[in-house]
C-alpha cells in the first residue's frame, strides 16, 4: 500500500509538469488554432531563466594566489561571489533561494519572449495548414535549443533547491500510514502545490476577469467576437505570452527535480501533446485532468510488480492509453465538438 501511495505522489509531481505544459499548449491551440511544437522549448527556456539567475548571483571576483599553483603550473584562482561580498548574509540567502527568486525574472522574460514569438513568427502562420505550423514551430524549437547549447553547453547544470526544501517530508503520517513508510522529497511536493496554484490562477483569470471572458468567447467563436468590435488579435497575443509564462514557470521550478539541459523541452513536448490529445483538443480541464492521470499511470506502470507481468509497459503506457481513449472517445476525455474536426 505504501508503494502505491509513493507512486501516486510521484505521478502527481510529474503530472503537474505535464499539466502545466499541456495547459499552455491547449490555450494556444484553443485561441490561435496553432499547433505549437516550440512549447517544450519554452519550458526549457524557463528552466534556463533559473540557470541564468543562479549564474548571475554566482558571479565571482577572481583573484590569483601566487603561492598556490594549479596542476598545470598557473597560479590558483580564489573565487568569491560578489553577492556575498556586497550583501553578506543576505547575499548568501539570495543564492540559496535562487530557484524561487528566478520566478520573478522568468515571468517578464517569458511574457516578452512569448509576445515576440507570436508577433514575429507565429502570426504569419495562423491561416496556414497545421503541417506548416508544426514545421515552423518545430524548427524554432531546434533553433532555440541550439542557442541554449551554444551558450550553456550540452551537459546538465544542477540547480539545488533551497536548503530548507532539500529534505524529505513524512507524508504518510498525514494520511494514516506508519511513520517512515511514505516519505517524499519536499521540493517535489512543493512543485505539485505550485502547479495546482498556477493552474488555479489561470482558470480564475479566464473565468473571473473580463479579459478572460473575451478570450473564452474568442475560443468559442472568434469571428463573432471580432464583429462586436473587440480587438481579439491583441488579446490572443497576450494569451500566447501568458501560455509562455506558464510553460516558463513550470520549467524554472522543475530545475531542482531535473538538472536542466538544452534538450529537456523535447523530452516533455511529445508527452504533453499526448496529454492534450487524451484530454481533448481545446479543453483546458481535459488537459489538466489528463496530465495528472497520465503522470500517475506512468508511475504505476514503472512498478516492478507491473513490469514483471507486462515487461516494457512503462515505456508505452502513455501511448497505449492515447490509443484506447481515441478509439473509445475520439474527441478525448473532455474534448469539445467541432474542435479539429474540419
Amino acid at each position: 500500500m505504501d508503494a502505491i501511495a509513493l507512486q501516486v505522489l510521484n505521478g502527481l509531481d510529474k503530472g503537474g509538469a505535464y499539466a502545466l505544459i499541456a495547459l499552455g499548449l491547449t490555450i494556444i491551440f484553443g485561441t490561435l488554432g496553432v499547433v505549437n511544437f516550440a512549447h517544450g522549448a519554452l519550458f526549457m527556456l524557463g528552466a534556463f531563466c533559473a540557470v541564468s539567475v543562479k549564474a548571475l548571483l554566482s558571479l565571482e571576483a577572481v583573484t590569483l594566489d601566487p603561492n598556490k599553483l594549479t596542476a598545470w603550473g598557473t597560479p590558483m584562482e580564489i573565487r568569491v561571489p560578489y553577492v556575498e561580498t556586497w550583501f553578506g548574509e543576505f547575499g548568501a540567502t539570495l543564492l540559496n533561494y535562487s530557484v524561487p527568486v528566478s520566478i520573478l525574472v522568468a515571468i517578464p522574460m517569458m511574457l516578452i519572449l512569448g509576445i515576440a514569438m507570436e508577433r514575429g513568427l507565429i502570426r504569419f502562420f495562423y491561416k496556414r495548414p497545421h503541417a506548416e505550423q508544426i514545421l515552423v514551430t518545430f524548427g524554432l524549437a531546434i533553433v532555440l535549443q541550439e542557442i541554449i547549447k551554444g551558450i550553456f553547453g550540452a551537459n546538465p547544470i544542477p540547480q539545488p533547491a533551497p536548503e530548507v526544501a532539500k529534505g524529505m517530508i513524512d507524508f504518510g503520517i498525514l494520511v494514516g500510514f506508519d511513520a517512515g513508510n511514505v516519505v517524499y522529497p519536499a521540493w517535489r511536493l512543493i512543485y505539485f502545490l505550485f502547479s495546482v496554484a498556477i493552474i488555479g490562477a489561470v482558470f480564475s483569470f479566464l473565468r473571473f476577469t473580463s479579459f478572460g471572458m473575451v478570450v473564452r468567447a474568442g475560443m468559442a467563436d472568434r469571428e463573432t467576437v471580432g464583429l462586436l468590435g473587440i480587438d481579439i488579435d491583441r488579446r490572443f497575443t497576450i494569451v500566447f505570452g501568458i501560455a509562455a509564462v506558464v510553460a516558463g514557470l513550470a520549467g524554472a521550478m522543475y530545475t531542482p527535480i531535473l538538472s536542466p539541459d538544452y534538450h529537456m523541452g523535447m523530452d516533455f513536448l511529445v508527452l504533453s501533446f499526448v496529454v492534450v490529445v487524451v484530454g481533448g483538443m481545446g479543453s483546458l480541464g481535459g488537459a489538466v485532468a489528463a496530465g495528472f492521470l497520465l503522470g500517475i499511470l506512468q508511475s504505476f506502470a514503472s512498478m516492478n510488480e507491473v513490469k514483471n507481468i507486462l515487461p516494457g509497459i512503462d515505456q508505452i503506457i502513455i501511448y497505449l492509453i492515447a490509443v484506447v481513449v481515441l478509439l473509445v472517445r475520439p474527441r478525448g476525455l473532455m474534448g469539445r465538438k467541432g474542435m479539429m474536426e474540419h
Binding site: K14, A154, N155, P158, M168, I257, H263, K307
Partner: protein, 446 residues
C-alpha cells in the same frame, strides 16, 4: 552466305577476352595495385580521422576529445612541449610526424548515433583519405564504426567505449581499445565495495537499456554476488528517461540497501541527483547506511551532478590528479593550452593517437596488418596508467584501474573526484575467451 552462328565455345572465349580487356585498365590503375592498402599516404602528409560527438548529449566530451587529438598531433609533429611523448617508454617517434610524414587531420561528428558516426567515418575514409579513424563516446557507436573500419580496411582506435562487447563478442582485427571495460570495473570495484559496505548487502540495479548498460549490470552483479551480496532487482530504464523518479520510488521500501546506477552521461547525472533527492544517500535500511554506486564515472558528468556525487563510489579509466610523470606531463601540457584539466575521454584519445603513431613508426608502414602487428602484445609505460599491454588476443589494453569517490570538500569545480584505490592490472585481467568473439583476419582494404 557466310554462316554467322555463334558457337558456345566461341561465346565463352569471347566473353573471357572481353572481360579481361575491360578489367585490365582498372586493375593497373586501382588503389589495390597502386597502393597495396586503403589510403596509403602519398606526398608529405598522412591524414587521421577524428570521429567525435560534436553535437548531441556528449558534445562536451567530444570537444574534450578533439582538444586532446589536436594536442597529440602537435606533439607528434614536434610542436608544443611534447606532453607524454617525453614520458612514453617507446622512443620511436622523433617529433617529425609519422614515418617522416607530417600528420594532418579531418574531423567528423558522430552525434552519438551509430548511423551518423558510420556516415562521417565513411566520408573521412572515402573523401578525405583518412588512414585511421579514432574517437567516440559511446559503445554503440564504437562497435558500429569498428565494423565499418574493418570492412574499409583502415585501423580503428576506439575512444571512450566501456562495453565488454567492443573487445568481446564484437571485436575486429582492425579495432583497438585503450579504455577499460565493464568487466574490469566490476573486478576493481568489488573488493572496494566489500571493504566499504561489507558482504551482507542487497543491491538494486537501475540499468540503461542498451548494450553498455547490460554489460555493466552483468559485471557488477557477477562481482558483488561473488562477495555475498544479493541482487534484489535489476530494472531496465529507457535511455534518456530524464526523470527517473518512478524507478527510484520502488527502491525506497524494497529492502535493498545499495542502489547501483548503471547509467552514463545525462542519465547518470539525472538518476544520481534524483536518488539523492529521494534521501537514499542518508537513508538507513536493515540497520545499515544506504549506499549508492555509480560503476562508471566521468569527471565531466560528475560536475553535472554537483554536490550529489559526494561520497559515491565508482570507477574511472584515468584522473587528472594522478601523480605519475606521464599524467603530470599531460595535465601540464593540456592545462597550459586550454586552461583546465583534461577529462578521461581526453586522456584515452590522446593515448590512442600516440599509440597509433608509435606503432606505425615502429612498423615502418601504415598498412593495417603491419600497424596491428606492432600494437599486438605491445608493452609500454609512461602514458598515465602504469605498465600497460595491448593484448594480442583481443586488442584490449590491460592496465591499472582507478576506483574513485565523489570528493567531500572539492577545492575547485574540476576537483570533484578523489582516487581511493589504484587497482593493479593483475586483479582486473581475465582470459580473452571470457567475452567471446573472434578477431578474424586484418583487412588492408583497397
Amino acid at each position: 552466305m557466310k554462316d554467322m552462328r555463334i558457337s558456345r565455345r566461341g561465346l565463352l572465349q569471347g566473353t573471357a577476352l572481353l572481360g579481361a580487356g575491360l578489367a585490365t585498365p582498372t586493375i593497373f590503375s586501382s588503389k589495390a595495385w597502386a597502393a597495396g592498402y586503403t589510403n596509403e599516404p602519398k606526398g608529405g602528409t598522412v591524414t587521421l580521422g577524428f570521429n567525435v560527438p560534436q553535437t548531441g548529449a556528449y558534445a562536451d566530451e567530444g570537444a574534450d576529445e578533439l582538444r586532446a587529438y589536436q594536442l597529440a598531433v602537435d606533439h607528434i609533429n614536434g610542436e608544443g612541449d611534447g606532453g607524454m611523448l617525453n614520458t612514453f617508454s617507446s622512443k620511436a617517434l622523433g617529433g617529425n610526424g609519422i614515418n617522416g610524414k607530417k600528420v594532418v587531420f579531418v574531423t567528423g561528428d558522430t552525434q552519438t548515433k551509430s548511423d551518423a558516426a558510420r556516415a562521417s567515418a565513411k566520408r573521412m575514409i572515402e573523401k578525405d583519405g583518412a588512414i585511421m579513424i579514432t574517437g567516440g563516446s559511446s559503445s554503440g557507436v564504437a562497435i558500429a564504426v569498428q565494423g565499418l573500419c574493418q570492412d574499409a580496411g583502415v585501423i580503428f582506435m576506439a575512444g571512450l567505449t566501456h562495453s565488454n562487447d567492443t573487445t568481446g563478442k564484437d571485436k575486429r582485427a582492425n579495432g583497438f581499445r585503450h579504455f577499460f571495460n565493464t568487466e574490469m570495473s566490476g573486478a576493481a570495484l568489488g573488493p572496494v565495495l566489500k571493504n566499504a559496505f561489507g558482504s551482507d548487502r542487497t543491491a538494486y540495479h537501475l540499468t540503461a537499456d542498451y548494450t553498455w548498460g547490460w554489460s555493466q549490470e552483468g559485471s557488477i552483479k557477477k562481482y558483488t554476488e561473488q562477495l555475498g551480496w544479493q541482487t534484489k532487482a535489476a530494472v531496465r530504464t529507457p535511455l534518456g528517461a530524464g526523470d527517473f523518479s518512478q524507478y527510484i520510488t520502488p527502491v525506497l521500501n524494497s529492502g535493498a540497501d545499495v542502489l547501483v546506477l548503471n547509467h552514463y552521461g545525462r542519465d547518470m547525472v539525472n538518476s544520481l541527483s534524483q536518488a539523492v533527492q529521494f534521501g537514499l544517500r542518508d537513508k538507513q535500511v536493515n540497520g545499515k547506511d544506504f549506499a549508492i554506486v555509480v560503476p562508471l564515472y566521468s569527471r565531466l558528468m560528475a560536475q553535472g551532478a554537483g554536490e550529489n556525487v559526494k561520497g559515491i563510489f565508482g570507477s574511472t579509466n584515468w584522473h587528472w590528479s594522478l601523480q605519475d610523470e606521464g599524467s603530470k606531463a599531460f595535465v601540464k601540457s593540456f592545462g597550459q593550452k586550454y586552461g583546465f584539466p583534461p577529462s578521461q575521454a581526453a586522456h584515452t584519445t590522446y593515448c590512442q593517437a600516440l599509440l597509433y603513431a608509435d606503432a606505425c613508426q615502429r612498423a615502418g608502414t601504415f598498412m593495417p596488418s603491419g600497424v596491428g602487428a606492432a600494437l599486438e602484445g605491445f608493452k609500454f609505460d609512461g602514458l598515465g596508467n602504469g605498465p600497460t599491454e595491448y593484448r594480442a588476443e583481443d586488442h584490449q589494453c590491460f592496465k591499472d584501474v582507478l576506483v574513485v569517490k565523489g570528493k567531500e570538500n572539492p577545492s575547485s569545480k574540476f576537483d570533484v573526484l578523489e582516487v581511493v584505490e589504484v587497482t593493479p592490472r593483475a586483479q582486473v585481467e581475465y582470459p580473452a575467451s571470457l567475452l567471446g568473439g573472434e578477431l578474424g583476419p586484418y583487412n588492408n582494404g583497397a
